[in-house]
Structures are given as C-alpha cells and as structure tokens.
C-alpha cells in the first residue's frame, strides 16, 4: 500500500505530527513499568505487519520531510557526513543493503534493477531515477554512502573492525541525540561510549562489544535506546545546542502535551559482506505526550517509567528541568491498572 508522505517541519514552526496510524506503529521502548539498563539485543527479523518491524529498513509517512531536513542540516554543516578513505568498500556495501531493503519493502516507492555492475535506482517519493556502475564512484553525484543515506531515514555509522575493537570510521549523522560524528570519528567503541554513566560499571559495554565483534553476516541484530526532546526537533546535535538547549526551559504544565516528545532510537546492526565492517542504523522516532496518551497502555506506563529513573540517567538524558511537569501531566492518564508485558498496545 502506498504511504501518504507528509509535508512538515522539524524546526521553526515545528509542524511535525504523527497520524493515528503512525501512532499505533510507534516503537514504544518500555516493556515494563520501570527502566533498567541492559544489552537488550535481539535478532533483527521481520515482525508483524503494521509495526516498524514489518521491514528491516523502515520507511514511514515522515520520509520525505526527514530527507528534506537532512538536506538543510548538510547544507549548513557538511561535516555531518564523513567517511575515512579506507571505508569505500563499506560505503558500497551500505548502498547495496539500503537499496535492496527499501526496494523489497516498498516496491511501489523504490525500484532497484541490477544488470551486472550496471544498476538503476528509482526513488519515486524524491523523484530520483539514476543509472550508475556499482563500484565506480565517478558514476554517482557524490560518494555512495552519502548518496544513499540522503535517501534513507535514520542516522548511519559504519564501523571498521580491527585489533579486537570497532572504530567509527564513517557516518551520516543529522538526527542525533546530543552526540557528534565530527567529535567521535576515528574513535573506538569504548571511547565513543565514554560518557555513558552506570553502564560501564555494569560491564554492559564489554559484553556488547564482545557480542558485536562476533556479529554474523545474514543475522542482523537490533536494540532500542530512548531519550526525550523538547519540540519535534530531529537535529539535536552538540553543534546546535544553542538552538535546542534553551527549549528545555520552555516546558510548562500547559504545554507538556505538545512540547515534550519521547525520542526512540531503533538501532539495527548489520555485518557488511565485502568490507566485514558493521553498519549501525540509528532510526529516530518522535512522538509527543499528547499523541502517546492516546494509547492507554503507554499512558499508564510512561509516568511509571519516568518516576523510576536513576538520578544519573535523568541528568545524562537532560530531563532534569521538565521531568516533574511531565510526570504530573501524564499521571492524569494513569488509572493505576496493571500494564500488560511487552511494548505493543493491547
């Protein structure tokens, strides 16, 4: 079925909204009433229709608007895309994976035709119809990784594997939750997770690294991460902190429903075939509290989760200033009834 792509903004007038159908497919990340750190990885396999797991690379009603926002971010700051020279193989691997998955999942919107190394890519929502030679950079308007990630929702990091570690050596990062590719590029797994509190002590990163080093081709894996953002702003980079940081002081009991957004990252991890690198796809979903409480189970669970957060996390996720107001507003929708296990609406 064709997706009705929305025209909306993630800045200035913030016209981004979720349709009722899109709310019901939102990947609510909490499977119980309290939040605990865990490695929480599971196989990234196709799941039920009508959820974000229906396809392995998800495309939704925000696709066209997100790609437009990415273009604006890159125009202002080209360093949001970077790839070190030894990652060219991995760039082509990524282009192939994203084209294949989008064309398989959404044949009415994307078509990939392969004739040996001569490929034709048709992207109808963005009006693109290009023919190029796979492996020959000169046949594309820009590097293959940049080319395809200007046409795919989410942030993308490609990490090289060597010396028993993973190195962030390429990325397209324009929708991040307060971290910077320009700062992290060239760092290894432990270095770029340096600032995360609690998880290091719990050994979470040691276990996660070990798991990822053995990630297998043909067996992608996924996990959730989450935070909260004021206003539906995709680009919450450190570079633009002066724009989004002050937003956090603007939350009042009256505007929680519209302003406070749950920001969910569905991260999928793929072993790439030609380069043996790993592709991290960090797909960001935003939903405001007014939309969230239209699902009764989530309306009950959300304030309970926020109440049980350890202080270090409240601080790290930047929730300090508006957590109280948000819990108070949400509590009206918590009737005290038990919630069912799992993340899906009842």
């Amino acid at each position: 079925m064709a997706i009705a792509f929305k025209q909306e903004s993630f800045r200035d007038d913030f016209s981004y909204r979720n349709s009722p159908e899109n709310i019901s497919r939102f990947p609510f990340p909490f499977d119980r009433d309290e939040y605990m750190y865990s490695v929480n990885m599971e196989p990234h396999v196709r799941g039920r229709p009508g959820t974000v797991f229906e396809n392995l690379i998800d495309v939704d009603e925000h696709y066209v608007a997100e790609m437009h926002d990415r273009m604006l971010v890159l125009k202002e700051d080209p360093l949001r895309y970077q790839a070190l020279p030894h990652m060219m193989n991995a760039q082509w691997d990524t282009l192939e994976l994203l084209m294949e998955e989008q064309a398989t999942g959404y044949p009415e919107h994307f078509t990939l035709t392969r004739n040996g190394d001569e490929w034709r890519w048709v992207n109808r929502p963005l009006g693109i119809d290009d023919t190029f030679t796979f492996g020959d950079v000169s046949t594309l308007p820009c590097e293959p990784f940049e080319y395809i990630t200007r046409q795919a929702q989410g942030d993308f990091c490609i990490v090289d594997q060597r010396d028993g570690n993973l190195w962030m050596d390429a990325g397209m990062v324009t929708t991040q939750a307060d971290w910077s590719l320009d700062f992290d590029i060239g760092m290894n797994f432990m270095e770029w997770h340096g600032p995360v509190p609690l998880a290091h002590q719990a050994g979470v990163f040691d276990r996660a690294l070990k798991f990822l080093l053995n990630l297998q081709q043909g067996k992608p894996t996924r996990r959730f991460n989450w935070t909260m953002t004021i206003n539906p702003r995709l680009d919450t980079s450190p570079e633009n902190y002066h724009k989004w940081g002050p937003d956090r002081t603007t939350v009042t009991p009256e505007n929680v429903a519209e302003k406070v957004h749950l920001r969910v990252e569905l991260q999928s991890l793929w072993r790439l075939p030609r380069s043996n690198a790993i592709l991290f796809v960090i797909r960001c979903y935003l939903m405001n509290m007014g939309e969230l409480v239209t699902v009764p189970k989530w309306a009950r669970r959300m304030p309970r989760v926020l109440r049980t957060l350890p202080p270090e996390l409240i601080d790290y996720k930047g929730l300090t200033r508006y957590r109280e107001d948000t819990i108070n507003w949400l509590s009206k929708y918590d009737d005290g009834a038990p919630t069912s296990p799992g993340i899906f609406p009842d």
């Binding site: 030894h86 053995n214 297998q216 081709q217 380069s275 043996n276």
Partner: protein, 321 residues
C-alpha cells in the same frame, strides 16, 4: 544461538589440485547467488557422516565478488579426526551439503599502504581471495609462499601466471630455498600490514620476527585454525539442560554436546573467535585449554572454557549449558 546461518549447496566440482589436496566448488541448491564475502573469510562446512554431523572451517578461496559459487581447498590431514578424510574420500560431485554464511576472522586492514602476505602450504587459501579483492581495488600486495615440494603444493603455478613474479615469490624447501624473512621485514614501506597463515610453528616464527624487527603488533595478523586435539575420553555434566555427555577420544566437547541434542553457539570451531565461551560451574580436575582466545590469566582462573578445542582431565566438570 548456534552457528552462522546455513545455506544448502550442491558440490558441482571436485578437482584434485596436488598430492593430498582437493578443491571443492559449491553452488546454491536454489540457484541464487551466494552472499558476497571479504578476503580472508571462512565457512563452516557441515558433513553428514551417516547421521553424525561433522563441521569444519575452511577458508574461501574463490574471488569474493563472484557469488556464483564458493570454492575451498582441503588438505587430507594425516591423522585426521575424520573431516578431511570425509571430504577426500566421500564427497562427490552432485552431493548436497550445507555451508554457513561467511565469517571473517582474518580481515585485511583496509588502511594498509601495502599488504605483505606470507603463506605456508595449505595456508595459501585465504590469500587467494584476498589477492583477488586487492587486485580489484588496486591495493598494493606481495605474496611469499613457502612449500615443501612443488608437487605437494597448490596453486603456485597459477598464481605466478596471474600476478607475475614481481608479486609472487615461491620458496621450495626441497630445492633448498628459504624465505629471507629478516630482509623482507626490514625493507617494507611504512604502513605495511603483514598477514601469515600456515603451520603453527611458521606463524609463531613470523610473528616473533615481526615483533623483533620493531613492527607494531597491530600490523601483524595471523590466522590459525586449531583442530581439537585427541585425548582421553571424559564426561561433562550440563547444568542447565541436565544432561551428561561423554566426550570420546577423537571428539571435541562441542561435537559431543551437539550430538547430545544441546545447542551451543560457535563461529570458527577453531579456538579463535570466542563465540563458544562457556562458564565452568564446577571443575574437579584439569582443564586443557587449547584455544588462542582466552588469555593466560583467564586460562589459569579456570572459570571459562572454549568448548570447540579444549579438553578436560579429572573427576567432574560441570558446564553452564
């Protein structure tokens, strides 16, 4: 989770290559292309030996960009535990088998200014795929290939023809030739990465020489597949599944555990990758660690064991499986 995903294939060609070496070509049963892979990758080949499943890792030697088929070469090992004998004596063209998705534990460092490849005997196979990939990508490489005799060694003639005598150097023991390792190590371009694959003694020697010549450890790469050594039979108790498993003289713990119907995870089955790391719940006796994954401290602590290659001598061993 057990091993990598498996792909049903047919053996479409068996070619004798040299004394005791055969090449096998696999194509997918469903006629589709096989997954791409990177030079240095291996697959696990599953052999159905009258209902007993043997699984061995073999380096992929076919060009990585050619997904019509996978090719491996198998040396018939003297004193084989069964895998190489099975491949040599039982596998015929037309047979159906399973191979895993490729796994690469010997990935070239893509940053290298130059790749210096050192092969001994059947250790040539991962380099065949690497050299194809380097050529396609215009990377600088050089192969030094040591062998006992020419008639017992594979592919030296083809390689010399394909890449030329500037890139391919052959050293034949029987003809009194030795690899000038020290000179090689001293004369490389800054940013060269060295890769060695061959008999264990050779790998140790090359790595030691590299360190002594002042090479950074990160620029020295090796791949050795250890096979599970034979030893005295013993018994393992699996705490979670409640099973008692007898490990035979020629069997590995992993094989015996799989035969008992318990799913254990693995990737390389050669003591290198760490995937089959298993918690030791209780151990009254001596663990015989044969892997290269755990460090000396971990081996001495005795709380973990790599069940693909390690053994046990003593009274009781309880594993968290």
């Amino acid at each position: 989770m057990s091993g990598g995903r498996e792909i049903p294939v047919r053996v479409t060609k068996v070619t004798p290559v040299a004394e005791r070496i055969k090449r096998f070509r696999f194509e997918r049963l469903d006629g589709k292309p096989l997954p791409y892979f990177s030079g240095g990758a291996h697959v696990i080949v599953s052999m159905n030996d009258f209902g007993h499943i043997r699984r061995n890792a073999y380096s992929l030697m076919s060009p990585p960009h050619d997904c019509a088929a996978y090719e491996i070469s198998v040396l018939h090992v003297e004193g084989s535990r069964g895998g190489s004998t099975f491949m040599h004596e039982r596998v015929k063209e037309g047979d159906e088998m399973n191979v895993s998705y490729p796994v690469n534990l010997f990935q070239p460092d893509w940053r290298a200014r130059k790749h210096l490849l050192i092969a001994g005997g059947i250790g040539i196979t991962p380099f065949m795929a690497m050299m194809e990939q380097f050529t396609r990508e215009g990377a600088n490489f050089e192969l030094h290939y040591a062998m006992r005799t020419r008639d017992r060694s594979a592919y030296w003639k083809e390689l010399a023809e394909r890449y030329g005598s500037q890139r391919i150097k052959i050293y034949c023991d029987a003809e009194g030739m030795t690899m000038p390792l020290d000179r090689l190590l001293d004369s490389q371009l800054l940013g060269t990465h060295l890769y060695v694959c061959g008999p264990s003694g050779m790998i140790d020697g090359v790595l030691r020489a590299g360190m002594e010549a002042g090479w950074p450890e990160q620029n020295l790469h090796s791949e050795r597949f250890l096979s599970s050594l034979p030893g005295k039979p013993f018994t393992v108790e699996l705490v979670r599944s409640g099973k008692t498993v007898r490990v035979g003289h020629h069997e590995s713990m992993l094989e015996a555990i799989e035969a008992a119907g318990v799913d254990a995870s693995f990737l390389c089955r050669g003591g290198a990758c760490g995937q089959c790391e298993t918690e030791v719940v209780n151990c009254d006796g001596k663990l015989l660690h044969h892997d290269v994954y755990l460090n000396d401290e971990e081996k001495a602590a005795g709380r973990k064991v790599m069940i693909c290659v390690s053994r046990f001598e003593g009274k009781t061993l309880h594993l968290d499986l």
